[in-house]
Symmetry: D2
Subunit: 140 residues, 4 copies
């Protein structure tokens, strides 16, 4: 399966009055990591892959995270992201955020490939992930 | 167990280019809901309960969410929040975000009661939840 | 000119490691206040007024703020918002954020009424504010 | 005066339902840019310079921004940041955000060097910027 690692610096603005990361910011970081993983797998930025494959996005249907070690502003962390399973119209992603080589936060996502609902522009509908995308995301 | 419901309006700034809530914003809403629940149980705002009980906060050790129905700017939703279990130094919370009476998002949190680590101000340490707090959070 | 006041509670998630509001959050609050002002003037939510008047939004071309008194989590503040000038396709807004009746933050915005550019969907173009909207925003 | 340039990628999460950056995110980017500039001038991260110079931070007393060209997710921009004036306890910063070499957003900040108020831990007090810091920020 496709995997990717990127480096992120924790900023003052990510932290709360206790001086540690306000946990929803981890989900923001993970969302960027998933985007970057797909971008690298497909060889184009999100703005272009949404157009190329003519879909609305890959929203989450479920997510889970475990927070093991707090991080604070000034910390530079690595986020390892990997596709862990690919279904017909959904896929799962795992993130491992490492601080000084130690697992600080784990994230798990189930996402679905969606288009505008054919009969109602205000709604979304799941759609099979294109074969070309599956091929790229399953390569090691 | 103590429970609480509050009303939240989804704002333009909560939404992404697909026009729906960017999911980390749900965790921000849930964090406020947990704070409001504790505030109402204890009868004082967070700024005061942190001082009164001399602790650093109640960070998450784990969280999980299921996203069933998208919400978009202008939606007014209800968030029902309840304590579901109380341990020695940890507790669990459930959130149910309802749109037009339908369950749109579910959130589950495990939090821990922490103080500054006695030997290292840069670290946190779990500590038993005070009996007075347990008493308030377990009242129906 | 139309004016509006709303009450906002400063949350833990709005604050930084110094324990005070991280200043970009004030702009988020002001953006909501401007939306609420226009919603009340027009009698419909933003989702509907964008459709009714068939436009893309009212992005800022310039903004300015003065921070006089810090606010922190648990503070309940009032934000007074008023239209201060209306041009052909732009308008100005002022916000006064009050803490215990004292002016804590002032915000000034110049916004423009925009539609999709007729020749390039990726661009925006200014357009005259509809007469019906001008009429509503200029009423006292 | 000290100056610095950094590269930032605009993310999906920075953008609103109109598909362009939600403007408070620019202030978040500028805040990071100011931090990075001071870090590079002083040769240490913010976590350390707050300790080394024993102060609370450098909050804004005023800011202003002009938005000339919209940016959207996938855009990679450069942010040029420079100290423009140094007073006894305050200093001014300018940011120029460039997209494809064109000035997209300008930001102007007046910040003040603050410590905990000696007689009231809940308040802040301005204090002269240390001579060593002035020396570093004024070097070209």
């Amino acid at each position: 399966m496709f995997r990717n690692t990127r480096t992120v610096r924790i900023e003052w603005s990510d932290c709360d009055p206790a001086g540690i990361v306000f946990y929803p910011r981890y989900f923001e970081m993970f969302d960027v990591s998933t985007t970057v993983l797909i971008e690298r797998a497909l060889g184009m930025i999100k703005f272009d892959y949404l157009k190329t494959y003519d879909f609305l996005g890959h929203p989450l249907v479920e997510t889970r995270a475990r927070f093991r070690i707090p991080t604070r502003f000034g910390d530079t962390v690595a986020i390892e992201t990997a596709v862990t399973a690919l279904g017909r119209s959904s896929f799962t992603i795992e993130h491992r955020l490492l601080k000084d080589g130690n697992l600080a936060v784990e994230g798990f996502e189930t996402r679905v490939w969606v288009v505008r609902h054919p009969n109602d522009a205000a709604r979304m509908a799941a759609q099979p992930i294109p074969a070309a995308v599956v091929a790229r995301l399953t390569q090691g």
